[in-house]
């Protein structure tokens, strides 16, 4: 009798346990975002873009100067 009850208990307990996490959500860079210094990456990207824009502005100024020189001729 005890054997049967024990085996039943083990059987039922096996139903509620699982070796792996069954509820899975698609992998996202959560750790990366919380403490992975993502802000550094964002700053780097932003700096590169700002550098490009500054270059573009300088280029435009030069074009401006050339335009003025040509119009004065």
């Amino acid at each position: 009798m005890i054997k049967r009850i024990l085996s039943l208990v083990f059987l039922i307990s096996a139903l509620f346990s699982s070796a792996q996490e069954t509820v899975s959500s698609p992998q996202m860079a959560d750790g990366f975002r919380s403490e992975g210094k993502i802000y550094v990456v964002i700053t780097v990207i932003a700096m590169i873009f700002i550098a490009l824009v500054v270059f573009l502005i300088v280029l435009e100024r030069k074009v401006n100067k050339l335009e003025k020189q040509i119009n004065n001729k």
Binding site: A29, I50, L59, E67
Partner: protein
């Protein structure tokens, strides 16, 4: 303030560079974090399409007005558009490698269409170099440009929707709802589109002024 659109483009793009990496996105299998590419890869193509539309308008103006200036502008716009298609292609290829599993697939009509469209516009540039007479060049290349624009739209907007495409929003149901975007993503995606289109106008503007200086020097 005639430079307002340049300032707006920089503000919008900076905002998307920062918030595009931080904001929450839908958790989807296979795509995972690469869904954020929507903020960077897609607007580049929108800018390219915008520039090609500008090029078409100037080509039509060149035809109706018999105007060399419009022809030069059409050429510059096509050049800027072409310039945008290159990062568009490479970023798409990289994205495809990590989600579809291949750098390039000939199964997808959009990829083939884009490749053909780029060749069509390359032919436009070559056509321009092959005609010496200015007026003749303006008219021939304007007519060709109208065909090029129509062909591009057939290849990258219409055909992918008629058949099955790996790209979202294609294969029967064209809509932004197909992008798996939620409102969080739209908050970044739309400014990105506007920002990059304005940015392409900035490049177009500089290109035009350089051509103008060149023309003046040649006279």
């Amino acid at each position: 303030m005639k430079n307002w659109y340049k300032i707006f483009s920089v503000i919008f793009i900076l905002y998307t560079l920062v918030w595009g990496l931080l904001n929450p996105v839908p958790r989807l299998d296979i795509l995972n974090e690469t869904i954020r590419n929507v903020y960077y890869h897609v607007p580049i193509w929108f800018a390219m399409l915008g520039m090609m539309t500008v090029s078409l308008i100037h080509s039509l103006l060149a035809l109706t007005k018999n105007n060399i200036t419009n022809d030069t502008k059409a050429y510059n716009a096509a050049l800027v558009g072409f310039f945008f298609s290159l990062p568009g292609l490479t970023t798409g290829s990289i994205w495809a490698k990590y989600t579809w599993g291949t750098w390039w697939t000939f199964q997808d009509p959009k990829l083939n269409g884009v490749a053909i469209s780029i060749l069509i516009y390359l032919a436009y540039f070559i056509l321009r170099f092959s005609v010496d007479d200015e007026m003749k060049r303006a008219r021939i290349s304007a007519v060709y440009n109208v065909f090029a624009f129509v062909m591009m739209n057939v290849f990258i907007m219409i055909l992918p929707r008629l058949t099955d495409s790996l790209h979202p929003g294609n294969g029967g149901n064209p809509a932004f709802a197909q992008y798996d975007m939620d409102n969080n993503m739209r908050m970044v995606f739309y400014p990105a589109v506007i920002g990059w289109i304005l940015f392409s106008f900035w490049l177009f503007n500089i290109k035009n002024r350089i051509s103008f200086i060149k023309n003046k020097l040649n006279d």
